[in-house]
Symmetry: C2
Subunit: 334 residues, 2 copies
Amino acid sequence: MTIYDVSEKAGVSIATVSRVLNGSDNVSAQTRQRVLAVIEACDYTPNAFARGLGLNTMNTVGILCADSTDLYVANAVYNIERELHENNYNCLLCCTGYNVEDKQKYLNLLVNKKVDSVILLGSNFISDNDDENEYIRKAAGEIPVLLLNADYDYENVYCSICDDFKSTLQATNYILDTGVEDILYLYNSKSYSALRKLSGYQSALTQRGIPLRAEYMQYFPGSHSNLPAVADFLMEIDRAVEYHAVVAGDDNLAIGAMKFALKKGMSIPEDLSIIGYNNSILSTCCEPELTTVDNRLEVLCHHIVKTLVGILDNKEMPQKVIFSGELIKRGTTL
Amino acid sequence: MTIYDVSEKAGVSIATVSRVLNGSDNVSAQTRQRVLAVIEACDYTPNAFARGLGLNTMNTVGILCADSTDLYVANAVYNIERELHENNYNCLLCCTGYNVEDKQKYLNLLVNKKVDSVILLGSNFISDNDDENEYIRKAAGEIPVLLLNADYDYENVYCSICDDFKSTLQATNYILDTGVEDILYLYNSKSYSALRKLSGYQSALTQRGIPLRAEYMQYFPGSHSNLPAVADFLMEIDRAVEYHAVVAGDDNLAIGAMKFALKKGMSIPEDLSIIGYNNSILSTCCEPELTTVDNRLEVLCHHIVKTLVGILDNKEMPQKVIFSGELIKRGTTL
């Protein structure tokens, strides 16, 4: 006899059974009575119930992120965590780092801890090499897996996505519309999301018949809290490429490009236009303030919690939802 | 019969019993044998054991923070979380917001979830009104409570502190040494740490016989990811106070002061010197880069995990450790 049986017999979700057992106010009197009647009829005690589930703690969601100091991730953790608490869920957060082995280890750990569901923050949890996604498929066999801004088609996997392709296409077009065609694209990751952005840049050029040149797509791996290092990188490639605009995969890289322009004595946006990505706090920190893409993180987080609560309430929820980003125009573009 | 009895009979810590039961490699063969012998002698099964404890999950540490998007807090979460995992502890993170009632609620929740210990990030968890600290005293009656950068004398409460008084005193002296005496102090919190910083500013002036003037100590409450709002606040008080330096309680406020200087057409540092606090990513984001105080967050986090692991291994650990901050000199000071 498990909580699942009680849930089924009472015709309510597992979360609701748990709320009744925990004495939460968030259950109607009628539902409470129905659940308690089933529990009584089965001679079911919370202790036995907890033992059956392997864990006394209920309503717990695991959250995995690579690095909580990444501004995008920090905001995601905050938004998701607060909203889950409002829905009477607790969170087990794990910062995994970027190694696939560590991600596997932590995801297994959370599944073994019998969390109700798991949320993976950021597209770096999905690999191009599908063998490396086996740990996700395995987890989805046990509990719902929710992905923030990653795309993966599999049963019991739910994706909330910002259309990074379209956003970067629009950002690049915005610069092309000013007559500037030599645009450097700067990126620091080869995650699904990062490659979609790159692809958006490429499409914008191709649609106008501008040839793609490898030296205009510069990859500088890392998460780059070290902003001067980004400027140094641009100084190094300075002789090889001439450009009058930078579209960057995140705000940190864009700020690094601003530091590079300063070193070179270039005016922003007259000599160099710059567009970042994420609309992070960094984008209002610099002068001029940074034109950037708002990738709707709060909307995505809200949707992911809504989906999770729905699934655990046995509701039918969409497996993939795609939102559109928005270009926030500030001082670094003409 | 509880895990505490097994721990006592075997002469090892609760954490060690838990490691043995979880099959962790991190226990010597000798200790493992001793624990298993006690468990066998008592006809003790993990299920009964888990029931006795009220929870099957072991080696879990609760972390409370007000707001994980605060850069200081985000870095603390990351450092502590990674290091706890290296020591085979899992983390339950709760973002409480700033209300005392919510902090109480979440701390009670974690204690009820039978975490082994709890870490409170930031001095805003301790109130000047000691009645409001009752929830901390109550938790400390059950499990060790560790405070990051907060000072509270109580049994089973452990504090890792950066000497914010001394750091701000030094920062203020650094400006006074350049001959500038009209220094605005800007702060956004009245937490223990925030008031210690203010006090450091006041002492620096008093030690040189410079009178303290209320209008030179400006309080602009909030966490201020909205940097332009800080600049607007300074524009508002502009007619009332004339100053040639700003010492700020965090980097966000200092960047706001830089935006104010730009609006006013003042040169930094010639017309206005500025010092921030935290050495966050924002401090290298702006131009010129920000002189700021490195408050040794990584060192504090390392110490807090070391203390926690020690306590749970039944070692004698110091209840209070104080580290010194360091002034990082960059472009916003003469």
